[in-house]
Symmetry: C2
Subunit: 258 residues, 2 copies
């Protein structure tokens, strides 16, 4: 049984950078939320007035994108079947690993609070029940390598224009990594050349990240029912490791509201 790894890469998810902690809009939002400024997530809808002082100010501070991506991913069929692992990789090479059984708050403000707790404690809700885990200084290529993929697909507007379902169906092996951008503008800031990936475009129209997430998840669901092209001998992982992975990912659904 195939295991999929879905990575939101170069996501615009970060704490308020030191350079702007003293800005009025930051201080105001910290006061309103009763938070220390440097322990808040950067949020374009509150901190935009200070973004002129940051490089890439036109795309930073988008926890909403990560939120939508996770809500859609965690409720997908492949996740319910225990065949999906979800990661957020950020512009600062922070990586958030999310357990398949996690039930995220659908409310945005609660989600932001949870991520702030994660960036503070590196694991939530607790070390014993680590539903979300933060690992720091993990470049995208390192994360991908650690997942030991048989094939890697990158969703990239500059990629090959072919149906994603078919690309998934014809991907080699049992461990398939799919990478999509976690930003609203521009291109990947990570070095993608190291990945040896097949780059696929979903079309000419610029899509919101939630649409890309939705299309990618539905393609994973459909991909396996698409007839495979003539089967090549693929490098197979030992069955044991895959079986272990998937049983570990099986749904518990014991209400661990993160």
């Amino acid at each position: 049984m195939r295991q999929y790894f879905l990575i939101l890469a170069d996501a615009e998810l970060e704490l308020v950078p030191t350079r702007i902690v003293g800005e009025r809009c930051v201080l105001n939002s910290a006061r309103a939320r009763n938070k220390v400024p440097e322990k808040m997530m950067l949020d374009a809808s509150h901190h935009h007035p200070a973004f002129g002082k940051l490089p890439d100010g036109d795309r930073r501070g988008r926890p909403d994108i990560a939120h939508m991506f996770l809500l859609l991913s965690l409720d997908s069929d492949v996740n319910a079947e225990g065949r999906l692992r979800v990661f957020i990789h950020t512009r600062n090479d922070d990586v958030v690993a999310v357990k398949p059984e996690t039930r995220l708050p659908p409310n945005y403000i609660r989600f932001v609070g949870l991520i702030e707790q994660l960036f503070d404690q590196h694991v939530v809700p607790s070390r014993e029940n680590a539903l979300l885990e933060l690992r720091q200084k993990v470049p995208l290529a390192t994360l991908v390598e650690a997942l030991k993929p048989d094939s890697v697909i990158v969703l990239d507007p500059a990629g090959e224009r072919t149906p994603l379902e078919g690309a998934i169906a014809s991907a080699e092996g049992e461990r398939v990594v799919i990478i999509m951008g976690g930003f609203s503008k521009g291109t990947f800031s990570s070095d993608m050349r190291k990945l040896k990936a097949r780059r696929i475009s979903l079309g000419e129209r610029m899509l919101k990240v939630w649409t890309v997430s939705s299309k990618a998840l539905r393609a994973l669901e459909a991909g396996e029912s698409v007839p495979e092209p003539s089967p090549k001998p693929t490098k197979k992982k030992p069955a044991k490791s895959t079986a272990k992975k998937s049983s570990g990912a099986r749904r518990a659904r014991k209400k661990p509201e993160a």
Copy 2:
């Protein structure tokens, strides 16, 4: 060219009911947001302590569901092609009509503010540029009838278990209404028997509304490429009316940030 109408029905979107405007949690959130309590949207994540005093208290106050539904719908391929109209119908028979070219705020708090403005003024941002419009006392059956559909599909866990793509491909006529529930628990509160609809189930697992939205939108995109079963003579609308609809819906994209 087919026109689709996607309705989020019995959505849990409403102002704070009079019965609980004096509750402490409501007054607190009104003070924090500098709002009059009765002009705020009911929100389970702030007002839950008062929900014991409301019927259906376990499912009410979910503007986040409407938000996700609209963000996904408005960025879909069918909407970009001018072939989708989106409506939210609420538990109180309020109907929100959303113009296809609307660019909604992805930030939840800004979205709630926009909907509060809509419930106050009945049109936003202005009467001249009515991107969102509120019509009151419109039962679901009345809304559907006004759309003059050739066929109606209801997504209902108790419906027929068949692929939605196929049901869309084989739906009659050029005006197809698709209805999905806008609540997290229970069933439709509207009387669905009046609709003469085909009821389709997406499967046994209870899905979040954003997953249903995602699957419905992708099925609309795919449905037309699925081979139609033996073509029956369908009642056709005069070409004129359809043409007018679709050209009116064409993308303007002149940055009318609502």
